[in-house]
């Protein structure tokens, strides 16, 4: 019995060392293979979650429905008004874009994707989407929504991909503040207790006079995120010993968004 125990310990030790010494590329591929293996489960789970959400949403009381109806009527009127205004604005923007030649520069080829699962690991923020190498997705591609930056692809399998969210501490994006010359690096926080996670911009100048509500945009350096994408808005600015630091409210509702776009290239 003692011999078996020693042999087991030896084999275990060797296996652990071998795993630790595996190249990161192999580990990355292993993760991709494992996620590919559980793709059917992820898809089924996502549809069950959606069904459950639908049932829960359908169970509303009459007075709630009435209130909702009133609100929707009001919203509808507002939207009609803003829609006609936006149509005018859109044609003007298009005209200006054509004139300035910026249209080609800012147009991306977007691949729509649906979120399959949202990881609830304690120290990491990521999710899986239903697009993979089969659809032209590759690692380090930016993932956005109509509101702004969502994250970037870290692992990709044939049918699914893992997206590291902008709220994760390990994802760093170079940003600029709209209307200023300020540039910094935005990243998530390791643990945020809020429903809306805080982001943090570091390496700002100490004299930066940032006001709450100022827009934070991607700077475009780094090669992953194209410039000009909305990251969020300034919540607070404070000065540390060596740098200015700002907290940012993300533009995208990371907890509830269901559909995202992968930036697969430029048009």
């Amino acid at each position: 019995m003692k011999g078996i125990t020693i042999a087991a310990l030896g084999a275990f030790g060797i296996l652990v060392v071998l795993v630790l010494l595996l190249p990161q590329q192999t580990k990355h591929q292993l993760q991709g293979a494992l996620f590919q293996l559980i793709t059917p489960v992820l898809r089924t789970g996502a549809s069950v979650q959606q069904e459950l959400g639908g049932v829960r949403g359908g169970l509303k009381r009459l007075d709630e429905l009435e209130r909702e109806n009133q609100k929707l009527k009001f919203d509808n009127e507002q939207l009609r008004a803003s829609n006609s205004l936006l149509k005018n604005l859109e044609s003007e923007v298009n005209r200006l874009n054509r004139a300035l030649g910026f249209r080609e520069q800012s147009a991306f080829k977007l691949l729509p994707a649906h979120i399959l699962s949202r990881e609830s690991a304690t120290w990491w923020n990521f999710c899986t989407i239903d697009r993979g190498t089969k659809n032209g997705v590759a690692t380090d591609m930016a993932v956005v929504t109509e509101d702004g930056v969502f994250g970037k692809i870290t692992t990709v399998a044939k049918d699914v991909a893992v997206v590291l969210l902008i709220s994760d501490e390990s994802l760093r994006v170079s940003v600029s503040i709209e209307g200023t010359q300020e540039q910094g690096i935005v990243s998530g926080t390791r643990a945020s207790s809020n429903y809306v996670p805080d982001l943090k911009i570091r390496f700002l100048s100490k004299t930066a006079n940032l006001k709450p509500g100022m827009m934070v945009l991607t700077a475009g350096s780094g090669g992953v995120f194209p410039s000009g994408l909305v990251v969020g808005s300034i919540k607070d600015f404070f000065v540390k010993e060596l740098e200015g630091v700002a907290s940012v409210t993300p533009a995208v509702d990371l907890a509830s968004v269901q559909d995202v776009f992968v930036v697969v290239g430029q048009k």
């Binding site: 304690t122 120290w123 501490e169």
Partner: protein
């Protein structure tokens, strides 16, 4: 025995996948609900030493591959570290195996709660590892909640998991410390 070991492996893998769909509890500062430690600790109590090591290896690997993003270039939490993180509390639980083999329900309950108390160790070790890699350590009430919270939830989950797994092991013909069923 091997059949039950394979069933435990499948259960641990299934629990990891199930956890992917469980949202964190925002009222408890984003505390996660963890099923895996309870299943793993049951395995450590139930299985002989070599199979406990094998279970530790697979649990750690599944944890790192399913719960932690592994970028292509560099990861601040390399795959395989969790094997060592799970090993320490796993060995503590395995040391309590003689108590488990008495097969008294109150002892099983006590052991399940011991496992639940050990669960935060896994999160604390992950946090320590991350802080070391990212060269920044800080503590806040949120971090304390995220470490301790899953342990508190496990205090409720673990006894249920233990009382489900015991009949399963018997059904699969594995009755450690008990005479064979006719």
């Amino acid at each position: 025995m091997i059949l039950f070991f394979l069933a435990l492996l499948a259960l641990i893998f299934g629990s990891f996948v199930f956890q992917l769909f469980l949202p964190p509890i925002l009222l408890l500062h984003g505390t996660a609900i963890l099923f895996v430690p309870a299943v793993y600790f049951y395995g450590c109590l139930c299985l002989p030493f070599p199979l406990t090591l094998a279970l530790t290896f697979f649990t750690g690997m599944f944890n790192d591959l399913l719960m932690i993003p592994q970028p292509r270039s560099h990861s601040d939490f390399p795959t395989g570290i969790s094997i060592l993180i799970y090993l320490a509390p796993g060995l503590v639980m395995h040391g309590l195996r003689p108590l488990f083999l008495r097969h008294r329900w109150e002892t099983h309950c006590l052991l399940a709660e011991t496992g639940a108390i050990l669960s935060p160790f896994i999160l604390l070790a992950q946090y320590a590892m991350l802080s070391f890699e990212r060269r920044e350590i800080f503590f806040s009430d949120v971090i304390v909640w995220r470490i301790v919270g899953p342990g508190l939830i496990s205090l409720l989950i673990a006894p249920c998991v233990f009382f489900i797994l015991t009949p399963l092991s018997h059904a699969l013909g594995y009755r450690p410390g008990l005479p064979f069923a006719r």
